[in-house]
Symmetry: C3
Subunit: 365 residues, 3 copies
C-alpha cells in the first residue's frame, strides 16, 4: 500500500524528483437512465447504460513546458463511432493523444488529436456539465475532435485575451484512410474575459460550483472552414457517398459564438451556431441554433437550472431537423463534479414531440 | 522507482492520507490450451488463446462506505460479444462500472453494471475457479452481468444471512439500444451460512486453498424473473427476431440453488438450475441442470478435483441441448489463485461425444 | 501526489519491499503524417493519424526470475486487424500477454502471446526504430506475434551466443477459432555477438544513440516452418479460402538473416528474407527481399540515415509485388527514443511509382 498526500479531486499524480516528468491518472464513468414519452403515440422508450467510461493520463514530459494528454473512451457509446470503414471498423477508443509545447510563455503549439477550439459547451469536459448532457445546438454544430496542429495563446491579466488557430484533417477523430480530396479544416477562435480570469478555470466548468467571488464574464467567437469534407457535419456524422460509392463533398463554414457569466453560484450561458456553404449539397447539416441556460447552485451544493434550445435547418436539403427544447435540471454536487447526481426533464417540440426524463450519476477519480 | 510495503497478492493499492479515496489496480490474464477429440469422427480440434485479459480498478471514493469497481475485459474473447447492433457493433470492453453505497451498516445500494446475484459458480471470479473454466450448468443458466440497482444486506455473526434484490434492464452488459418492450428483470437471492463466515471469504473462492480451520457451509437460493427478454438465455445469447426483424420475447423464470462446504483443504460444491416460462417460445433456452464437484487441496498446494455436470432442455423448442459431462481436474496453486496452472480432462456425452483436455495458466497482479 | 526517485526514461516502476513483485507502467503514442506523390497520375495522397498508442505493463511476479509482459495496442491502426471472423470481429487489442520463467540461469521458458524470434527489424520495438517505420522487407516477410511456447538461451561473455526455439499456433495474434488443420509453426533462431554484448542492449535499438564505445556486431539467422497456414503471409495477411469457404493451406518455409554493427554513433543494418513452399498455392506471399541501412547520430542527437530495400515474388502466383525503395531519414532524438521527431523521404519503384514523405513524433513515458 502506498499512502499519498493528495486528497481526492486532485487525482493520483506522480512526479519525478528531478522534474523530468509527471503523470496523473484519471478514471471516471457515468451511469445514465433516459426515458422518453412520445406524446402522439404514447410510447415510453427507455435506456440505462454506462454512458461514458474514461481513462486519462496527463502530465509533462522532459520539461514542465512540454505537456501531454492521453485520454481513452471505453464504453460502447464512446467507441462505437469506429464502426465504419474510414475509422477502421474497430473500436474507436483514443480520444486525445496530444503534446502541448509552450515554446514561449503564454504560447503553446499542440500536435496530435484533441478537441478543436470550438464552442464552449463542447470544450467543457463531459465530466463538468451543468445538465445531464450537452444541448442539441452542440450535438448538431460542434466541431468535436480532430488531428492536426493548434496554436494557442493567452495575454493580459486584468482583461484577458485568448486566441487559438488550428489546421486539421477535417474528418474527426480516428480516421485511418487517406484524407479525402486533401480538404483540410481551419479553425480560429478568439476569447475575451473583460473581468479577468475565473476562479478555478470556471469559464470551462458547468455550473458555478466555484461560487465566483466577483462577477466574471467570458465571450468567445469561433470561425471554422472545413474544406471538402464528406461527413455531414464536418468532423462528425455519416460519410456521404454517391451511388457509385464515391465521396460527396461540401465546404462548410461554421460560426460559433458563446458567452458565460458567473457570480456567487449563479451562472448564465448562451451559444449561437451557424453552419452554411456556398454549395448546398443534399445531406449535409446546414443550419443554425441558439441555446441559453441559467442556473443557481445553493450553498448546500444543490443546483436548479433551466435551458432553452432551438435549432433549424438552412435550405431544403439539410440533414438538420427543426426542434425546440425546454429543459429543467436538478443536480446534487456531492464532491463537485467528481461525485454527483444530475437529473433533467425536457419537453421536445419537433416532428415527433416527446417529454424526456434523465438521471445520471458520475464518479471520477 | 516507488518501493511499496505491500507484498504480492494484496495488489497495488494507494490510499489518500486524509481517507478521501483509495485505488487498487488489478491486472491479470489467462493463457488457455484446449483440445477436443471427437469420438465418432476422430477429429482433433484445438485452440490456444489469451482466454481472459483484465484490468481492474476498485476502492472507495469520498468516504470508505462509498466503494466503486471498474473492471475491463480486453481479450478478444472478452470483447467479441459486442459484435451485434444492440451492443453497438464495437468491442464490448466494460465489465463492471458500479458504485456500492453502504448507507447503513450491513446494507448496500449498488448502482451500475455488475454481476447479478445469481449462482455461486458465476459470482466466483474467473480468477478464483477450481477448474479451468465454469461448468455447462453455468454457461447455460447463469444470470451474468446487467445494469440496474441492487440492494444487498448481511446480518448475524454465528449464523450469517445475506439477502440481495436487483432490478435491471434484463438484456445483459453493454446494451446501447432502448430496453426492448421495457421488460425489466427482477432477481432475489437468499444465503445462509449456518457455521458462520468463511475464512478469507472462502465461500466465493473455488478450491479450499484457505484450508478452512473449522467446517463451513453456505447455501444460496436465487429466483429470477426476466420479463419480455429477446435474448435466448435472458441476459445472454442471441437477440431473437422474427422474419420481419422484430424482437421475439419470452418471460423467463429461473431458479438457481447452490451450496458449498469447505474444511481443511476439502471442498464440495453443488448447483441446481431451472429455467422455464409460461409461454414456450421456440429458440429460448428453457431447461434444467445440475453440477457437483469435490476437490482436495494438498498441503503442497496441488489439488485434485472431480466434477459431474448434466443439463437438459425443457420442452421441444429449447435452444439447450442435452449433455452430461465428467471432469477430472489437477491444479497447482503456486501463489494461490494469483499464479497457478490448472488442467482438466472431460468426457462429454452429448449428440457428438468428445474428450476434452485443457490446461491454463493464470497470472494476476 | 507521489514524488518518485526515478527520472524519465526509466519509466514508472513500483517494487514490493519483500521482492514479491514489481510493476512498470509504460505509455506511448506516435503521431504520423504521411504524404505520397504518385508520379504517373500526379495524385497527392495524405494521412495524419495516431499510428500507435500503447499501454505496457511489465515486471516480475512471485520471484525475480518469473517475469511478465502485458502490452496493449489501442489506436485504430493497432486494433483493426481484429475485423475478421477468425479474430472475433472485435478490436484486436492485446499485443503481448506472456510469462517468462528463467528456470535456470541463462535459459528462459516463455508461455503466451508475444513476438516470435524473427528478423531483428521486427523484434526492435516500434518505439526504437531508426526510420519512421520498418522496411518493406519486414512488412512482407516478418513473423510477427503468435501464441505458444518459446525457449530462449544465452551463453558467453566475450563472444555471446543466443538461441531461441518456438512452437506456436501459426496464425498470429488474437485468433479465437480452432487452429486450422492443427498446423503448427516452428521457429529457430541463432545469434552470435563476436565482440560481446552491446551497451544498453543496443543490438535491439535502432540508431546508435548509445554511441557504442567499442565496435559491436551481431548476426542472427532464423528459420521458420509454418505448417498448413491459411494466412497469406503465415502469421499475417488474409485468411485464404476457396469458393466453398474452406481454408486453403500452404506450408511456408522462411529464412531470415540479419546483421547489425554499431560504433560511436555509426550504425549499419542488413537483413535478407526468403519465403517459399514446396507447394506453390496461389495467393500466398512467396518471395525474397533485402534491406540495408546506414546511419550516423551526431553528438547533438540529430541523425541522418539511408536505407535501400528490394522485394520480389517467387513464382507466378505470389501475393508479393516487386518493389525497390530508396529512403533518406532525418531524426532528432530529444530524449533518446522517448521523445523524438523523425522524418523520411522515399522513392518507391514499383508498378505505380511514388515519392513518399513522412514525419512522426513519438512520446513515451
Amino acid at each position: 500500500q502506498i499512502p499519498i498526500d493528495a486528497s481526492w479531486g486532485k487525482g493520483i499524480r506522480v512526479e519525478a524528483k528531478d522534474s523530468s516528468f509527471s503523470l496523473k491518472l484519471g478514471l471516471r464513468f457515468q451511469t445514465l437512465y433516459e426515458g422518453e414519452k412520445y406524446l402522439e403515440s404514447g410510447n415510453w422508450n427507455e435506456q440505462l447504460l454506462i454512458r461514458r467510461y474514461r481513462l486519462k493520463f496527463d502530465g509533462y514530459a522532459f520539461k514542465p513546458n512540454i505537456k501531454y494528454k492521453m485520454e481513452l473512451g471505453i464504453s460502447n457509446r464512446d467507441t462505437r463511432s469506429g464502426g465504419v470503414d474510414e475509422i477502421g471498423h474497430t473500436a474507436n477508443i483514443v480520444l486525445d493523444a496530444v503534446v502541448k509545447w509552450e515554446f514561449t510563455p503564454g504560447v503553446e503549439l499542440w500536435v496530435g488529436q484533441t478537441k478543436l477550439p470550438g464552442n464552449r459547451e463542447r470544450v467543457v469536459s463531459s465530466q463538468n456539465m451543468q445538465f445531464v448532457d450537452r444541448s442539441l445546438v452542440n450535438s448538431r454544430f460542434n466541431l468535436d475532435r480532430d488531428i492536426g496542429l493548434q496554436l494557442r495563446a493567452v495575454q493580459g491579466s486584468g482583461v484577458v485575451f485568448r486566441e487559438a488557430f488550428a489546421i486539421s484533417m477535417g474528418e474527426g477523430r480516428g480516421v485511418v484512410v487517406d484524407n479525402p480530396d486533401n480538404g483540410r479544416q481551419y479553425t480560429t477562435r478568439f476569447e475575451v474575459l473583460p473581468m479577468g480570469l475565473f476562479k478555478s478555470k470556471g469559464d470551462y466548468v458547468g455550473a458555478d460550483i466555484e461560487r465566483q467571488p466577483s462577477p466574471k464574464l467570458a465571450i468567445g467567437v469561433t470561425y471554422d472552414y472545413n474544406k471538402n469534407t464528406p461527413r455531414s457535419r464536418g468532423n462528425l456524422g455519416s460519410f456521404l457517398m454517391d451511388t457509385d460509392n464515391n465521396f460527396i463533398y461540401s465546404d462548410l463554414s461554421t460560426w460559433l459564438v458563446d458567452a458565460v457569466f458567473k457570480y456567487q453560484g449563479l451562472s448564465w450561458n448562451a451559444e449561437y451556431a451557424h453552419r452554411s456553404s456556398s454549395d448546398e449539397v443534399a445531406g449535409f447539416g446546414y443550419g443554425k441554433g441558439f441555446v441559453t441556460a441559467l442556473g443557481y447552485v445553493f450553498k448546500s451544493n444543490y443546483e436548479i437550472a433551466g435551458r432553452y434550445t432551438t435549432v433549424e435547418p438552412i435550405g431544403v436539403n439539410s440533414s438538420i431537423g427543426a426542434a425546440e427544447e425546454y429543459t429543467l435540471g436538478f443536480s446534487k454536487y456531492i464532491v463537485g463534479h467528481s461525485l454527483k447526481i444530475q437529473s433533467d426533464v425536457s419537453y421536445m417540440d419537433t416532428t415527433n414531440d416527446y417529454i424526456r426524463f434523465r438521471v445520471q450519476m458520475e464518479l471520477a477519480l
